[in-house]
Protein backbone atom coordinates (compact mmCIF):
# COMPACT_ATOMS: atom_id res chain seq x y z
CA UNK A 1 0.00 0.00 0.00
CA UNK A 2 2.80 2.32 0.84
CA UNK A 3 4.34 1.88 -2.59
CA UNK A 4 1.65 3.69 -4.56
CA UNK A 5 2.08 7.05 -2.92
CA UNK A 6 5.29 8.98 -2.35
CA UNK A 7 6.16 9.06 1.31
CA UNK A 8 5.43 12.38 2.94
CA UNK A 9 8.43 14.54 3.46
CA UNK A 10 8.76 16.39 6.72
CA UNK A 11 6.50 19.40 6.54
CA UNK A 12 8.64 22.39 5.69
CA UNK A 13 6.28 24.70 7.58
CA UNK A 14 6.99 23.01 10.89
CA UNK A 15 9.70 24.63 12.88
CA UNK A 16 11.72 22.19 14.91
CA UNK A 17 10.62 22.38 18.47
CA UNK A 18 13.09 23.78 20.92
CA UNK A 19 13.66 22.08 24.25
CA UNK A 20 11.89 25.00 25.90
CA UNK A 21 8.80 24.63 23.73
CA UNK A 22 8.60 20.94 24.51
CA UNK A 23 8.96 21.67 28.20
CA UNK A 24 6.09 24.14 27.91
CA UNK A 25 3.81 21.26 26.97
CA UNK A 26 4.28 19.44 30.24
CA UNK A 27 1.24 20.12 32.42
CA UNK A 28 3.30 20.18 35.60
CA UNK A 29 5.70 22.85 34.38
CA UNK A 30 3.79 25.69 36.03
CA UNK A 31 3.84 24.03 39.42
CA UNK A 32 7.55 23.26 39.24
CA UNK A 33 8.29 26.83 38.21
CA UNK A 34 6.11 27.93 41.13
CA UNK A 35 8.07 25.79 43.59
CA UNK A 36 11.31 27.34 42.35
CA UNK A 37 9.95 30.89 42.62
CA UNK A 38 8.54 30.32 46.09
CA UNK A 39 11.80 28.73 47.22
CA UNK A 40 13.79 31.72 45.97
CA UNK A 41 11.34 34.06 47.66
CA UNK A 42 11.76 32.36 51.04
CA UNK A 43 15.51 31.93 50.65
CA UNK A 44 15.67 35.71 50.44
CA UNK A 45 13.07 36.69 53.02
CA UNK A 46 12.79 33.86 55.53
CA UNK A 47 14.86 32.74 58.46
CA UNK A 48 17.42 30.19 57.19
CA UNK A 49 15.94 27.70 59.68
CA UNK A 50 13.13 27.12 57.15
CA UNK A 51 15.42 25.15 54.88
CA UNK A 52 17.02 22.96 57.54
CA UNK A 53 15.79 19.37 57.75
CA UNK A 54 13.35 20.12 60.54
CA UNK A 55 12.12 23.20 58.67
CA UNK A 56 11.48 21.19 55.53
CA UNK A 57 9.61 18.50 57.49
CA UNK A 58 7.64 21.34 59.04
CA UNK A 59 6.25 22.57 55.77
CA UNK A 60 6.06 19.18 54.08
CA UNK A 61 3.64 17.84 56.71
CA UNK A 62 0.73 20.18 55.89
CA UNK A 63 1.70 19.94 52.21
CA UNK A 64 1.35 16.17 52.39
CA UNK A 65 -2.04 16.29 54.09
CA UNK A 66 -3.35 18.67 51.46
CA UNK A 67 -1.47 16.89 48.69
CA UNK A 68 -3.19 13.55 49.25
CA UNK A 69 -6.50 15.34 48.69
CA UNK A 70 -5.11 17.36 45.79
CA UNK A 71 -3.93 14.29 43.88
CA UNK A 72 -7.39 12.73 44.20
CA UNK A 73 -8.96 16.01 43.13
CA UNK A 74 -6.55 16.27 40.19
CA UNK A 75 -7.42 12.79 38.90
CA UNK A 76 -11.11 13.60 39.16
CA UNK A 77 -10.60 16.93 37.38
CA UNK A 78 -8.72 15.20 34.57
CA UNK A 79 -11.73 12.89 34.38
CA UNK A 80 -13.89 15.96 33.87
CA UNK A 81 -15.61 16.30 37.25
CA UNK A 82 -15.26 18.23 40.51
CA UNK A 83 -15.70 17.10 44.06
CA UNK A 84 -16.42 19.98 46.41
CA UNK A 85 -17.35 17.62 49.23
CA UNK A 86 -13.86 16.28 50.01
CA UNK A 87 -13.25 18.74 52.86
CA UNK A 88 -16.50 17.76 54.52
CA UNK A 89 -15.71 14.16 53.69
CA UNK A 90 -12.57 14.45 55.83
CA UNK A 91 -14.74 15.44 58.81
CA UNK A 92 -17.35 12.81 58.05
CA UNK A 93 -14.84 10.00 57.61
CA UNK A 94 -13.06 11.27 60.74
CA UNK A 95 -16.31 10.96 62.66
CA UNK A 96 -16.86 7.45 61.30
CA UNK A 97 -13.31 6.44 62.19
CA UNK A 98 -13.46 8.08 65.63
CA UNK A 99 -16.77 6.41 66.42
CA UNK A 100 -15.49 3.05 65.19
CA UNK A 101 -12.39 3.14 67.38
CA UNK A 102 -13.63 4.99 70.47
CA UNK A 103 -17.37 4.34 70.67
CA UNK A 104 -17.32 0.80 69.32
CA UNK A 105 -13.77 -0.05 70.31
CA UNK A 106 -12.97 -1.75 66.98
CA UNK A 107 -9.33 -2.63 66.25
CA UNK A 108 -7.68 -0.70 63.44
CA UNK A 109 -7.64 -3.73 61.16
CA UNK A 110 -11.43 -3.46 61.06
CA UNK A 111 -11.87 0.27 61.57
CA UNK A 112 -9.54 1.41 58.78
CA UNK A 113 -10.95 -0.73 55.95
CA UNK A 114 -14.45 0.09 57.17
CA UNK A 115 -13.69 3.81 56.99
CA UNK A 116 -12.34 3.49 53.46
CA UNK A 117 -15.32 1.41 52.40
CA UNK A 118 -17.74 3.88 53.92
CA UNK A 119 -16.02 6.84 52.24
CA UNK A 120 -15.94 5.05 48.89
CA UNK A 121 -19.66 4.38 49.21
CA UNK A 122 -20.41 8.05 49.81
CA UNK A 123 -18.11 8.88 46.89
CA UNK A 124 -19.94 6.49 44.61
CA UNK A 125 -23.24 8.06 45.68
CA UNK A 126 -21.85 11.41 44.53
CA UNK A 127 -20.80 9.79 41.28
CA UNK A 128 -24.09 8.01 40.63
CA UNK A 129 -26.13 11.15 41.18
CA UNK A 130 -23.87 13.10 38.81
CA UNK A 131 -23.98 10.39 36.12
CA UNK A 132 -27.68 9.59 36.43
CA UNK A 133 -28.96 13.14 36.62
CA UNK A 134 -26.50 14.59 34.16
CA UNK A 135 -26.20 17.61 36.46
CA UNK A 136 -22.85 19.36 36.81
CA UNK A 137 -20.78 17.69 39.53
CA UNK A 138 -20.11 21.17 40.88
CA UNK A 139 -23.72 21.47 42.10
CA UNK A 140 -24.17 17.90 43.27
CA UNK A 141 -21.00 17.89 45.34
CA UNK A 142 -21.72 21.41 46.63
CA UNK A 143 -24.87 19.92 48.12
CA UNK A 144 -22.78 17.18 49.70
CA UNK A 145 -20.34 19.75 51.05
CA UNK A 146 -23.17 20.93 53.32
CA UNK A 147 -24.85 17.58 53.84
CA UNK A 148 -21.67 15.87 55.03
CA UNK A 149 -20.55 18.81 57.16
CA UNK A 150 -23.97 18.91 58.81
CA UNK A 151 -24.04 15.16 59.33
CA UNK A 152 -20.60 15.34 60.94
CA UNK A 153 -21.84 17.94 63.42
CA UNK A 154 -25.02 16.07 64.24
CA UNK A 155 -23.24 12.73 64.39
CA UNK A 156 -20.53 14.04 66.70
CA UNK A 157 -23.10 15.45 69.07
CA UNK A 158 -24.90 12.13 69.11
CA UNK A 159 -21.70 10.19 69.70
CA UNK A 160 -20.40 12.46 72.44
CA UNK A 161 -23.61 13.65 74.00
CA UNK A 162 -23.48 17.25 72.84
CA UNK A 163 -19.85 18.05 72.05
CA UNK A 164 -18.52 18.64 68.54
CA UNK A 165 -15.27 16.96 69.42
CA UNK A 166 -14.65 13.27 69.99
CA UNK A 167 -11.59 12.58 72.12
CA UNK A 168 -9.79 9.46 73.17
CA UNK A 169 -8.73 8.13 69.78
CA UNK A 170 -5.09 7.92 70.84
CA UNK A 171 -5.89 5.76 73.87
CA UNK A 172 -8.17 3.57 71.79
CA UNK A 173 -5.54 2.79 69.16
CA UNK A 174 -2.58 2.62 71.55
CA UNK A 175 -0.44 -0.43 70.84
CA UNK A 176 -2.36 -1.42 67.72
CA UNK A 177 0.13 -2.91 65.24
CA UNK A 178 -1.40 -0.93 62.35
CA UNK A 179 -1.09 2.41 64.14
CA UNK A 180 2.48 2.99 63.00
CA UNK A 181 1.39 2.99 59.33
CA UNK A 182 -1.05 5.84 59.86
CA UNK A 183 0.50 7.97 62.60
CA UNK A 184 3.81 9.13 63.94
CA UNK A 185 7.10 9.03 62.08
CA UNK A 186 8.68 6.50 59.80
CA UNK A 187 12.33 5.51 59.60
CA UNK A 188 12.95 6.50 63.24
CA UNK A 189 15.84 4.02 63.40
CA UNK A 190 17.59 5.61 60.44
CA UNK A 191 17.37 9.05 61.98
CA UNK A 192 18.63 7.80 65.35
CA UNK A 193 21.56 6.13 63.57
CA UNK A 194 22.31 9.33 61.64
CA UNK A 195 22.13 11.32 64.87
CA UNK A 196 24.62 9.02 66.57
CA UNK A 197 27.10 9.74 63.82
CA UNK A 198 26.39 13.46 63.96
CA UNK A 199 24.95 13.54 60.41
CA UNK A 200 21.70 15.24 61.42
CA UNK A 201 21.00 17.96 63.95
CA UNK A 202 20.44 16.72 67.47
CA UNK A 203 19.14 18.07 70.73
CA UNK A 204 21.51 18.40 73.69
CA UNK A 205 20.66 14.89 74.91
CA UNK A 206 21.72 13.38 71.58
CA UNK A 207 18.21 12.65 70.26
CA UNK A 208 17.73 13.75 66.64
CA UNK A 209 15.76 16.98 66.19
CA UNK A 210 13.77 15.21 63.49
CA UNK A 211 12.73 11.84 64.94
CA UNK A 212 11.68 10.49 61.53
CA UNK A 213 9.65 11.28 58.46
CA UNK A 214 5.96 11.83 59.29
CA UNK A 215 3.92 9.02 57.74
CA UNK A 216 1.72 11.40 55.76
CA UNK A 217 4.75 12.45 53.72
CA UNK A 218 5.43 8.81 52.88
CA UNK A 219 1.78 8.30 51.87
CA UNK A 220 1.87 11.52 49.86
CA UNK A 221 4.88 10.38 47.83
CA UNK A 222 3.49 6.87 47.31
CA UNK A 223 0.10 8.17 46.17
CA UNK A 224 1.69 10.71 43.82
CA UNK A 225 3.82 7.99 42.24
CA UNK A 226 0.90 5.58 41.98
CA UNK A 227 -1.44 8.19 40.48
CA UNK A 228 1.20 9.20 37.94
CA UNK A 229 1.74 5.59 36.95
CA UNK A 230 -1.98 4.99 36.54
CA UNK A 231 -2.48 8.15 34.49
CA UNK A 232 0.48 7.74 32.17
CA UNK A 233 1.00 4.01 31.90
CA UNK A 234 -2.28 2.14 32.24
CA UNK A 235 -5.40 1.82 30.08
CA UNK A 236 -7.43 3.23 32.97
CA UNK A 237 -5.28 6.35 32.79
CA UNK A 238 -6.09 6.69 29.12
CA UNK A 239 -9.79 6.29 29.92
CA UNK A 240 -9.57 9.03 32.56
CA UNK A 241 -8.09 11.48 30.07
CA UNK A 242 -10.61 10.41 27.44
CA UNK A 243 -13.60 10.68 29.78
CA UNK A 244 -12.58 14.20 30.75
CA UNK A 245 -11.57 15.28 27.25
CA UNK A 246 -14.82 14.34 25.54
CA UNK A 247 -17.14 11.90 27.26
CA UNK A 248 -19.15 11.35 24.09
CA UNK A 249 -16.19 10.55 21.88
CA UNK A 250 -14.80 8.30 24.61
CA UNK A 251 -18.06 6.37 24.91
CA UNK A 252 -18.19 5.94 21.14
CA UNK A 253 -14.69 4.48 21.24
CA UNK A 254 -15.66 1.91 23.85
CA UNK A 255 -14.38 3.64 26.99
CA UNK A 256 -16.55 2.80 30.04
CA UNK A 257 -16.96 6.48 30.92
CA UNK A 258 -19.54 6.02 33.67
CA UNK A 259 -17.51 3.43 35.52
CA UNK A 260 -14.40 5.57 35.24
CA UNK A 261 -16.15 8.62 36.67
CA UNK A 262 -17.84 6.80 39.54
CA UNK A 263 -14.51 5.14 40.31
CA UNK A 264 -12.80 8.52 40.44
CA UNK A 265 -15.38 9.87 42.88
CA UNK A 266 -14.63 6.83 45.05
CA UNK A 267 -10.90 7.56 44.82
CA UNK A 268 -11.24 11.18 45.93
CA UNK A 269 -13.47 10.15 48.83
CA UNK A 270 -10.93 7.49 49.82
CA UNK A 271 -8.15 10.09 49.72
CA UNK A 272 -10.26 12.19 52.11
CA UNK A 273 -10.69 9.14 54.35
CA UNK A 274 -6.93 8.58 54.42
CA UNK A 275 -6.31 12.18 55.44
CA UNK A 276 -9.04 11.81 58.07
CA UNK A 277 -7.47 8.67 59.55
CA UNK A 278 -3.98 10.18 59.64
CA UNK A 279 -5.00 13.50 61.14
CA UNK A 280 -7.44 12.00 63.65
CA UNK A 281 -4.81 9.56 64.88
CA UNK A 282 -2.21 12.32 65.04
CA UNK A 283 -4.44 14.65 67.01
CA UNK A 284 -6.04 11.88 69.06
CA UNK A 285 -9.45 13.42 68.49
CA UNK A 286 -11.84 14.33 65.73
CA UNK A 287 -13.96 17.42 65.39
CA UNK A 288 -16.53 18.74 62.98
CA UNK A 289 -14.33 21.48 61.54
CA UNK A 290 -11.73 19.05 60.30
CA UNK A 291 -11.00 19.52 56.62
CA UNK A 292 -12.76 22.88 56.52
CA UNK A 293 -12.19 24.63 53.16
CA UNK A 294 -9.82 21.84 52.12
CA UNK A 295 -11.88 21.12 48.98
CA UNK A 296 -11.02 24.55 47.61
CA UNK A 297 -7.36 24.32 48.58
CA UNK A 298 -7.12 20.88 46.96
CA UNK A 299 -8.70 22.11 43.74
CA UNK A 300 -6.43 25.16 43.74
CA UNK A 301 -3.39 22.92 44.19
CA UNK A 302 -4.61 20.75 41.30
CA UNK A 303 -5.12 23.82 39.09
CA UNK A 304 -1.69 25.20 40.00
CA UNK A 305 -0.48 21.74 39.05
CA UNK A 306 -1.80 22.22 35.53
CA UNK A 307 -5.29 20.68 35.59
CA UNK A 308 -7.76 22.38 33.29
CA UNK A 309 -11.17 23.22 34.75
CA UNK A 310 -12.68 21.75 31.59
CA UNK A 311 -11.06 18.35 32.20
CA UNK A 312 -8.98 16.07 30.04
CA UNK A 313 -5.65 17.61 30.91
CA UNK A 314 -3.40 17.76 33.95
CA UNK A 315 -1.07 15.65 36.02
CA UNK A 316 -0.67 14.13 39.45
CA UNK A 317 2.93 15.35 39.67
CA UNK A 318 1.63 18.86 39.12
CA UNK A 319 -0.81 18.51 42.02
CA UNK A 320 2.09 17.13 44.09
CA UNK A 321 4.10 20.31 43.52
CA UNK A 322 1.01 22.48 43.84
CA UNK A 323 0.49 21.11 47.35
CA UNK A 324 4.15 21.70 48.22
CA UNK A 325 3.83 25.35 47.16
CA UNK A 326 0.92 25.54 49.58
CA UNK A 327 2.81 24.06 52.49
CA UNK A 328 5.80 26.29 51.83
CA UNK A 329 3.72 29.44 51.85
CA UNK A 330 1.54 28.59 54.86
CA UNK A 331 4.48 27.62 57.02
CA UNK A 332 7.10 29.77 55.33
CA UNK A 333 5.36 33.02 56.22
CA UNK A 334 5.89 32.24 59.89
CA UNK A 335 9.63 32.29 59.23
CA UNK A 336 9.36 35.79 57.79
CA UNK A 337 8.35 39.20 59.13
CA UNK A 338 5.22 39.21 56.98
CA UNK A 339 1.76 39.02 58.48
CA UNK A 340 0.59 35.42 58.09
CA UNK A 341 -2.73 36.49 56.68
CA UNK A 342 -0.96 37.39 53.44
CA UNK A 343 -1.40 33.71 52.82
CA UNK A 344 -4.94 34.17 51.51
CA UNK A 345 -3.90 36.97 49.17
CA UNK A 346 -1.12 34.80 47.90
CA UNK A 347 -3.48 31.89 47.40
CA UNK A 348 -5.89 33.86 45.25
CA UNK A 349 -3.08 35.46 43.26
CA UNK A 350 -1.42 32.13 42.62
CA UNK A 351 -4.71 30.61 41.43
CA UNK A 352 -5.34 33.45 39.02
CA UNK A 353 -1.82 33.23 37.61
CA UNK A 354 -2.08 29.47 37.25
CA UNK A 355 -5.37 29.63 35.37
CA UNK A 356 -4.05 32.27 32.97
CA UNK A 357 -0.92 30.24 32.43
CA UNK A 358 -2.82 26.99 31.89
CA UNK A 359 -5.12 28.63 29.43
CA UNK A 360 -2.18 29.77 27.34
CA UNK A 361 -0.65 26.30 27.55
CA UNK A 362 -3.85 24.64 26.41
CA UNK A 363 -3.97 26.85 23.35
CA UNK A 364 -0.43 25.85 22.53
CA UNK A 365 -1.08 22.16 22.98
CA UNK A 366 -4.23 22.05 20.92
CA UNK A 367 -2.90 24.47 18.34
CA UNK A 368 -6.01 26.58 18.97
CA UNK A 369 -5.70 30.08 17.59
Amino acid sequence: MSDSMPQPAADERLKTESFGARLMKRPELGAIAGVILVTIFFLVTADPAMFTLSGVINFMTPAAQLGILAIGAAMLMIGGEFDLSIGSMVAFAGLFFGAATVTFGLPLIVAIPATFLFAALVGSLNGFIVIRSGLPSFIVTLAFLFILRGLSLVGLKLATGGSTQLRGVRDAVEGDPLASFFSGDAFGGVFAWLAERGLVETFRNGAPKVPGIPVEIIWFVIIAALATWVLLRTPVGNWIFAAGGDANAATNSGVPVRKVKVGLFMVTASCAALVAIITVMDAGSTDARRGFMKEFEAIIAAVIGGCLLTGGYGSAIGAFFGAIIFGMVVIGLTYTDFDQDWFQVFLGGMLLLAVLFNNAIRKRVTGER
Binding site: S2, L14, N238, A242, A249, A250, G312
Partner: protein
Protein backbone atom coordinates in the same frame (compact mmCIF):
# COMPACT_ATOMS: atom_id res chain seq x y z
CA UNK B 1 -9.98 19.17 -10.72
CA UNK B 2 -8.55 16.42 -12.81
CA UNK B 3 -9.15 13.66 -10.39
CA UNK B 4 -10.46 11.20 -12.90
CA UNK B 5 -7.16 9.57 -13.63
CA UNK B 6 -5.58 10.17 -10.27
CA UNK B 7 -6.59 7.04 -8.46
CA UNK B 8 -6.55 3.47 -9.50
CA UNK B 9 -10.03 2.14 -9.87
CA UNK B 10 -10.16 -1.48 -9.11
CA UNK B 11 -13.01 -3.22 -10.84
CA UNK B 12 -14.53 -5.26 -8.07
CA UNK B 13 -15.80 -8.13 -10.13
CA UNK B 14 -19.46 -8.71 -9.74
CA UNK B 15 -18.56 -12.27 -8.76
CA UNK B 16 -17.08 -11.15 -5.42
CA UNK B 17 -19.69 -11.63 -2.75
CA UNK B 18 -20.76 -8.45 -0.99
CA UNK B 19 -19.68 -8.04 2.64
CA UNK B 20 -22.80 -6.19 3.58
CA UNK B 21 -26.12 -6.33 1.85
CA UNK B 22 -29.01 -4.17 2.92
CA UNK B 23 -32.32 -5.23 1.38
CA UNK B 24 -35.40 -3.02 1.21
CA UNK B 25 -34.59 -1.24 4.42
CA UNK B 26 -37.41 0.82 5.86
CA UNK B 27 -37.15 3.01 8.89
CA UNK B 28 -40.05 4.88 10.42
CA UNK B 29 -39.82 7.37 13.23
CA UNK B 30 -43.37 7.61 14.51
CA UNK B 31 -45.37 8.77 11.51
CA UNK B 32 -42.33 9.92 9.59
CA UNK B 33 -41.00 7.54 6.98
CA UNK B 34 -37.30 8.27 6.87
CA UNK B 35 -36.39 5.30 4.67
CA UNK B 36 -38.93 3.76 2.33
CA UNK B 37 -37.16 0.69 1.01
CA UNK B 38 -33.48 1.25 0.38
CA UNK B 39 -31.23 -1.47 -1.01
CA UNK B 40 -27.49 -1.19 -0.93
CA UNK B 41 -24.47 -3.44 -0.93
CA UNK B 42 -20.74 -3.08 -0.59
CA UNK B 43 -18.08 -5.50 -1.79
CA UNK B 44 -14.55 -5.94 -0.50
CA UNK B 45 -12.15 -3.48 -2.08
CA UNK B 46 -14.72 -1.18 -3.57
CA UNK B 47 -15.71 2.34 -2.75
CA UNK B 48 -19.45 2.61 -2.94
CA UNK B 49 -20.66 6.18 -2.78
CA UNK B 50 -23.97 7.01 -1.21
CA UNK B 51 -25.14 10.33 -2.54
CA UNK B 52 -28.09 12.44 -1.69
CA UNK B 53 -29.09 15.93 -0.80
CA UNK B 54 -29.73 17.02 2.77
CA UNK B 55 -32.73 15.18 4.17
CA UNK B 56 -32.52 12.38 1.63
CA UNK B 57 -32.06 9.81 4.42
CA UNK B 58 -28.31 9.24 4.15
CA UNK B 59 -27.66 9.63 7.86
CA UNK B 60 -30.57 7.43 8.89
CA UNK B 61 -29.42 4.81 6.45
CA UNK B 62 -25.83 4.62 7.64
CA UNK B 63 -26.95 4.70 11.24
CA UNK B 64 -29.05 1.64 10.46
CA UNK B 65 -26.04 0.02 8.86
CA UNK B 66 -23.78 0.78 11.82
CA UNK B 67 -26.19 -0.48 14.45
CA UNK B 68 -27.40 2.83 15.88
CA UNK B 69 -30.94 2.35 14.53
CA UNK B 70 -32.76 -0.91 14.00
CA UNK B 71 -34.63 -1.12 10.71
CA UNK B 72 -38.42 -1.13 10.84
CA UNK B 73 -38.51 -3.48 7.86
CA UNK B 74 -35.96 -5.12 5.61
CA UNK B 75 -32.96 -7.30 6.20
CA UNK B 76 -29.24 -6.90 6.71
CA UNK B 77 -26.86 -9.61 5.49
CA UNK B 78 -23.29 -9.56 6.72
CA UNK B 79 -21.01 -11.93 4.79
CA UNK B 80 -24.11 -13.76 3.64
CA UNK B 81 -25.58 -14.25 7.11
CA UNK B 82 -28.54 -12.49 8.63
CA UNK B 83 -27.53 -9.90 11.12
CA UNK B 84 -29.43 -7.97 13.69
CA UNK B 85 -27.18 -5.41 15.27
CA UNK B 86 -28.39 -4.38 18.71
CA UNK B 87 -25.79 -1.66 19.19
CA UNK B 88 -22.95 0.11 17.38
CA UNK B 89 -20.63 -2.07 19.43
CA UNK B 90 -22.11 -5.22 17.82
CA UNK B 91 -21.59 -3.80 14.37
CA UNK B 92 -18.07 -2.73 15.26
CA UNK B 93 -17.21 -6.19 16.50
CA UNK B 94 -18.53 -7.74 13.31
CA UNK B 95 -16.23 -5.42 11.37
CA UNK B 96 -18.39 -2.45 10.41
CA UNK B 97 -16.61 0.69 11.52
CA UNK B 98 -18.13 4.11 11.16
CA UNK B 99 -16.23 7.36 11.13
CA UNK B 100 -18.81 9.98 12.03
CA UNK B 101 -18.29 13.65 11.43
CA UNK B 102 -17.23 14.29 15.04
CA UNK B 103 -14.54 11.62 14.48
CA UNK B 104 -14.54 10.46 18.13
CA UNK B 105 -11.21 12.18 18.68
CA UNK B 106 -10.08 14.10 21.72
CA UNK B 107 -8.04 17.17 20.76
CA UNK B 108 -6.15 17.44 24.05
CA UNK B 109 -4.90 13.86 23.88
CA UNK B 110 -1.96 12.64 21.85
CA UNK B 111 -2.39 10.88 18.54
CA UNK B 112 -1.29 7.61 20.12
CA UNK B 113 -3.72 7.87 23.03
CA UNK B 114 -6.52 8.66 20.61
CA UNK B 115 -5.54 5.88 18.24
CA UNK B 116 -5.81 3.23 20.96
CA UNK B 117 -8.59 4.85 23.00
CA UNK B 118 -10.68 2.11 24.56
CA UNK B 119 -8.51 -0.65 23.04
CA UNK B 120 -5.14 -0.17 24.70
CA UNK B 121 -2.69 -3.05 24.32
CA UNK B 122 -1.18 -4.12 27.61
CA UNK B 123 1.81 -6.03 28.85
CA UNK B 124 2.64 -7.49 32.23
CA UNK B 125 0.07 -9.03 34.48
CA UNK B 126 -1.75 -8.51 37.76
CA UNK B 127 -1.04 -5.16 39.39
CA UNK B 128 1.82 -4.57 36.97
CA UNK B 129 -0.41 -4.68 33.92
CA UNK B 130 0.37 -1.57 31.95
CA UNK B 131 -0.03 -0.07 28.52
CA UNK B 132 2.54 -1.18 26.01
CA UNK B 133 3.52 2.41 25.27
CA UNK B 134 6.46 1.61 23.00
CA UNK B 135 4.34 -0.63 20.82
CA UNK B 136 1.47 1.88 20.78
CA UNK B 137 3.82 4.64 19.64
CA UNK B 138 5.49 2.46 17.02
CA UNK B 139 2.16 1.26 15.59
CA UNK B 140 0.75 4.78 15.47
CA UNK B 141 3.78 6.20 13.69
CA UNK B 142 3.81 3.31 11.21
CA UNK B 143 0.08 3.39 10.45
CA UNK B 144 0.14 7.14 9.98
CA UNK B 145 3.19 6.89 7.74
CA UNK B 146 1.38 4.35 5.60
CA UNK B 147 -1.50 6.75 5.24
CA UNK B 148 0.92 9.45 4.19
CA UNK B 149 1.09 11.57 7.32
CA UNK B 150 4.43 12.38 8.91
CA UNK B 151 3.81 12.92 12.60
CA UNK B 152 6.31 15.03 14.47
CA UNK B 153 6.03 12.67 17.41
CA UNK B 154 3.49 10.11 18.57
CA UNK B 155 2.72 12.32 21.56
CA UNK B 156 1.65 15.20 19.33
CA UNK B 157 -1.82 16.32 20.40
CA UNK B 158 -4.63 15.62 17.94
CA UNK B 159 -5.66 19.26 18.33
CA UNK B 160 -2.55 20.30 16.41
CA UNK B 161 -3.51 18.23 13.35
CA UNK B 162 -5.46 19.64 10.44
CA UNK B 163 -9.02 18.49 9.76
CA UNK B 164 -7.88 16.18 6.97
CA UNK B 165 -5.18 14.64 9.11
CA UNK B 166 -7.65 14.00 11.92
CA UNK B 167 -9.97 12.32 9.44
CA UNK B 168 -7.04 10.16 8.35
CA UNK B 169 -6.20 9.21 11.94
CA UNK B 170 -9.80 8.13 12.44
CA UNK B 171 -9.75 6.07 9.25
CA UNK B 172 -6.37 4.51 10.03
CA UNK B 173 -7.61 3.60 13.50
CA UNK B 174 -10.72 1.87 12.14
CA UNK B 175 -8.71 -0.07 9.57
CA UNK B 176 -6.02 -1.06 12.06
CA UNK B 177 -8.65 -2.51 14.36
CA UNK B 178 -9.91 -4.81 11.65
CA UNK B 179 -12.72 -2.98 9.87
CA UNK B 180 -14.05 -4.94 6.88
CA UNK B 181 -16.47 -2.20 6.01
CA UNK B 182 -15.64 1.41 6.62
CA UNK B 183 -18.47 3.92 6.62
CA UNK B 184 -17.33 7.50 6.16
CA UNK B 185 -19.93 10.14 6.94
CA UNK B 186 -19.20 13.19 4.77
CA UNK B 187 -15.46 13.01 5.39
CA UNK B 188 -14.70 15.85 3.00
CA UNK B 189 -17.50 18.23 3.82
CA UNK B 190 -15.49 20.67 5.92
CA UNK B 191 -12.12 20.37 4.23
CA UNK B 192 -10.10 22.51 1.89
CA UNK B 193 -9.03 21.37 -1.58
CA UNK B 194 -5.65 19.99 -0.57
CA UNK B 195 -6.95 18.19 2.51
CA UNK B 196 -9.85 16.77 0.53
CA UNK B 197 -7.52 15.15 -1.96
CA UNK B 198 -5.46 13.73 0.93
CA UNK B 199 -8.56 12.13 2.40
CA UNK B 200 -9.60 10.80 -1.00
CA UNK B 201 -6.11 9.33 -1.39
CA UNK B 202 -6.53 7.68 2.01
CA UNK B 203 -9.83 6.16 0.91
CA UNK B 204 -8.05 4.77 -2.13
CA UNK B 205 -5.36 3.16 0.05
CA UNK B 206 -7.92 1.64 2.36
CA UNK B 207 -9.84 0.20 -0.58
CA UNK B 208 -6.71 -1.43 -1.92
CA UNK B 209 -6.32 -3.26 1.37
CA UNK B 210 -9.56 -5.03 0.59
CA UNK B 211 -11.79 -2.99 2.85
CA UNK B 212 -15.22 -2.08 1.53
CA UNK B 213 -15.71 1.66 1.80
CA UNK B 214 -19.07 3.37 2.03
CA UNK B 215 -18.50 7.00 1.19
CA UNK B 216 -21.33 9.33 2.05
CA UNK B 217 -21.25 12.67 0.36
CA UNK B 218 -23.32 15.30 -1.30
CA UNK B 219 -20.44 16.46 -3.37
CA UNK B 220 -20.55 14.77 -6.77
CA UNK B 221 -16.99 15.64 -7.67
CA UNK B 222 -15.52 14.12 -4.53
CA UNK B 223 -17.58 11.00 -5.07
CA UNK B 224 -16.59 10.63 -8.71
CA UNK B 225 -12.94 11.00 -7.79
CA UNK B 226 -12.78 7.72 -5.90
CA UNK B 227 -16.10 5.94 -6.28
CA UNK B 228 -16.54 2.60 -8.01
CA UNK B 229 -20.31 2.61 -7.74
CA UNK B 230 -22.78 5.32 -6.95
CA UNK B 231 -26.13 5.00 -5.28
CA UNK B 232 -28.38 8.02 -5.08
CA UNK B 233 -30.93 8.48 -2.35
CA UNK B 234 -33.79 10.87 -2.63
CA UNK B 235 -36.65 11.31 -0.17
CA UNK B 236 -35.94 8.00 1.53
CA UNK B 237 -35.77 5.94 -1.64
CA UNK B 238 -32.97 4.58 -3.84
CA UNK B 239 -33.03 6.18 -7.25
CA UNK B 240 -30.67 3.54 -8.58
CA UNK B 241 -27.07 2.42 -8.58
CA UNK B 242 -24.63 3.21 -11.37
CA UNK B 243 -21.18 1.87 -12.03
CA UNK B 244 -18.25 4.12 -12.67
CA UNK B 245 -18.24 5.36 -16.25
CA UNK B 246 -21.93 4.70 -16.72
CA UNK B 247 -22.98 8.07 -15.46
CA UNK B 248 -21.87 11.66 -15.94
CA UNK B 249 -21.46 14.18 -13.14
CA UNK B 250 -24.40 16.14 -14.50
CA UNK B 251 -26.68 13.13 -14.39
CA UNK B 252 -25.63 12.37 -10.82
CA UNK B 253 -26.19 15.96 -9.79
CA UNK B 254 -29.64 15.93 -11.32
CA UNK B 255 -30.57 12.67 -9.65
CA UNK B 256 -29.51 13.98 -6.26
CA UNK B 257 -31.50 17.14 -6.51
CA UNK B 258 -34.52 15.50 -8.06
CA UNK B 259 -33.75 16.79 -11.53
CA UNK B 260 -36.25 19.41 -12.52
CA UNK B 261 -35.68 22.27 -10.13
CA UNK B 262 -31.92 22.10 -10.33
CA UNK B 263 -32.00 22.29 -14.10
CA UNK B 264 -33.83 25.57 -13.80
CA UNK B 265 -31.49 26.84 -11.11
CA UNK B 266 -28.49 25.86 -13.09
CA UNK B 267 -29.74 27.92 -15.98
CA UNK B 268 -29.90 31.01 -13.83
CA UNK B 269 -26.52 30.37 -12.24
CA UNK B 270 -24.78 29.78 -15.52
CA UNK B 271 -23.90 26.16 -14.96
CA UNK B 272 -21.77 26.72 -11.91
CA UNK B 273 -23.46 24.41 -9.42
Amino acid sequence: MTEDSKFHHGDPAATVAPIVEMKNIEKHFGNIIALAGVSFEVRPGECHCLLGDNGAGKSTFIKTMSGVHRPTKGEILFEGRHMNFASPRDAMEAGIATVFQDLAMIPLMSVTRNFFMGREPTKGSGPFKRMDVERMNAVTMEEMRRMGIALRAPDQAVGTLSGGERQTVAIARAVYFGAKVLILDEPTSALGVRQTSNVLATIDKVRKQGVGVVFISHNVRHALAVGDRFTVLNRGKTLGTARRGEITPEELQDLMAGGQELAQLEGSLGGTV
